[in-house]
Symmetry: C2
Subunit: 190 residues, 2 copies
C-alpha cells in the first residue's frame, strides 16, 4: 500500500536491533485517516471472505482493529494480556513471547466472544517473528473459529514470522513489507 | 445518549463492588458502529472547540479514541503504561491509581506528541474515581497543552470522579451517566 510505505519512509525511524519506530502515526500518536485507508485496503483484500469478527491483541493493535471492524461492519475482539498465571475456565488462552519487551505474556479471550460460528480476520500493527499471530491463531483453534487470514500494517519480512505462517497455509496480507533495514534506511519488498 | 443507555441496559452486567461489565460491546468485544455513533455525539458536543488532538490511555480507551480522531479529523495519542519506574526525559508522566486492578501505574506520553499548541479532548471508556482523567490532565499541564474537556462513554457518577473534576472547572461530557447500581440493575442520571 503506497500511502503507508511513503509514510514509513517519511516518519519511521530505524533503531539498532531491528526496531522500527512508527510512534508518530501508528502506535503512540495515530493518524486515524491512515487507519481508515488501511481498513479499506483490508476490505478490498478480504471483502469476499464473509468475515464476521476482527481479532487483535492489546494494546497497539486495537486502533487499526477498531477501524477494520467499522469498515467490515462487524465486531472486534481484543485479546487481553493476563496479569495472572491462573487462567479461568471462561477464556481461551495462549502464550506469546514478546519481541520488544522480552519474556512471555499470556493472552486471553472470553469464550463468550469467540466460537465455532466465527470467521475471523486477525489484525495487528506489526508482524515480526509472528509470536502474536501464532498466539491469536491458537486461540481461534481452541474456539473452533475459522481464521480467514491476517491483515497486518507493517511486516518486517526479514524476521521470518510471515514466511513461516504462509508456509503453514495461513493467508497473511501485509500493507507494507519491509525486506531489509539498516542505518541507511529501509527497503520494501517488491 | 439514548442508544448507549439502551445498550448498557441490554448487555451490561452489574457485578459486586460497583463493577459494571460492558465486555460485550465496549471493552473486550467492541461494537464499532456504536463507537462511531459515540464519536459523532462527541463531535456534536465539542465540535466548536478547535480540538486538534485526542488523548487517551491504553488499552480500553484506544478504540473510542481512534474513532473520535477519525470523526474530528485529528490525530490521537494514547498514554502508555510504563513498565519501569525510571522515566526518561523524553516523556511527560503521571501516576494513576488503578480502580480495577489496585496499585499505581505510571503513564507516559512522548514530549514529541503533546505540546503547547495542542487543544486536547481527553477520551476514555469509563469515568469512576477519575484517576485516569486526573493523570491525563496532569500530563497536559506538563506539556502546556489546553484541555478543552473530556468525552467519556460511561460515567459511574456515584463514584464521584466526574463531580470532582467538574467542580475544578473541567468540562466533562459523559454519554451515559449511571446514578446508581445494585443487584436489581442500574439507573441513569436524569
Amino acid at each position: 500500500m503506497k500511502k503507508l510505505e511513503e509514510r514509513i519512509q517519511k516518519d519511521g525511524k530505524v533503531r539498532p536491533g531491528g526496531i522500527l519506530k512508527v510512534d508518530n502515526f501508528l502506535n503512540h500518536q495515530i493518524d486515524p485517516q491512515l487507519l481508515y485507508d488501511m481498513a479499506q485496503e483490508l476490505k478490498r483484500l478480504y471483502g469476499g471472505e464473509r468475515v464476521n469478527k476482527i481479532l487483535t491483541v492489546e494494546a497497539s493493535g486495537i486502533a487499526i482493529a477498531a477501524m477494520a471492524g467499522y469498515v467490515f461492519g462487524c465486531p472486534l475482539v481484543f485479546a487481553k494480556k493476563s496479569k495472572t498465571k491462573n487462567i479461568s475456565d471462561e477464556v481461551w488462552s495462549a502464550e506469546v513471547e514478546s519481541f520488544t519487551h522480552g519474556g512471555t505474556n499470556t493472552i486471553v479471550v472470553s469464550k463468550e466472544y469467540l466460537g465455532a460460528n466465527d470467521r475471523v480476520l486477525i489484525v495487528d500493527d506489526f508482524l515480526a517473528t509472528g509470536a502474536a499471530l501464532f498466539g491469536l491463531r491458537e486461540i481461534c483453534r481452541q474456539a473452533g473459529a475459522e481464521v480467514v487470514g491476517a491483515g497486518i500494517a507493517v511486516e518486517k519480512a526479514f524476521q521470518g514470522g510471515g514466511k513461516k505462517l504462509r508456509e503453514e497455509g495461513m493467508r497473511v496480507e501485509s500493507l507494507a513489507k519491509i525486506a531489509s533495514m539498516s542505518d541507511n534506511g529501509l527497503e520494501f519488498e517488491k
